[in-house]
Symmetry: C2
Subunit: 91 residues, 2 copies
């Protein structure tokens, strides 16, 4: 009987952990502006600009990329990387 | 005894599922260019351009945003959104 109670308790805990993992699985931003309902970034660029933007939500210099995507890819088997935007020089 | 065997089997399966969920938890791109080691996008813009770029890795028009981030946020409690880049008109 003790074993059955122990097993049941374990199953409840395992289920809870599984649900937590599943919820965390879906969320990709656990760091940037958590108080904002939707993090939309607006950037104004001009001729000659070149910027590297983060798409992994882990950069210490968000919205710019600081290379942290490499650690994330290594740890998870993911393949994400930045967006590089170049603006033609005028003239 | 039958119960103990059943419970043990269940625990093994639950553990496996938990590990899978944990691995999937870390990965944020399960769709775009899976064969590429790192998805880096290079964009050349010119004066007057305005583009909306995806940062949720779920867009059907990646690297551009098609609004799919809204479904993702709803389903997971996340708060991700696009990067909007505008380039000044010259002159
Ligand atoms: S640090 Fe996020 S894409 Fe490079
Ligand atoms: S569809 Fe990915 S950010 Fe909008």
């Amino acid at each position: 009987f003790g074993f059955a109670v122990g097993a049941a308790g374990f199953l409840v805990l395992a289920g809870r952990q599984l649900r937590t993992a599943r919820k965390a699985e879906g969320k990709i931003n656990n760091k940037i502006d958590p108080e904002v309902p939707k993090v939309v970034t607006k950037e104004d660029l001009k001729a000659g600009d070149k910027k590297v933007y983060c798409r992994c939500w882990l950069s210490g210099t968000f919205p710019l990329c600081d290379g942290t995507h490499a650690k994330h890819n290594e740890a998870t088997g993911d393949n994400v990387g930045p967006l590089i935007v170049s603006v033609k020089k005028s003239g």
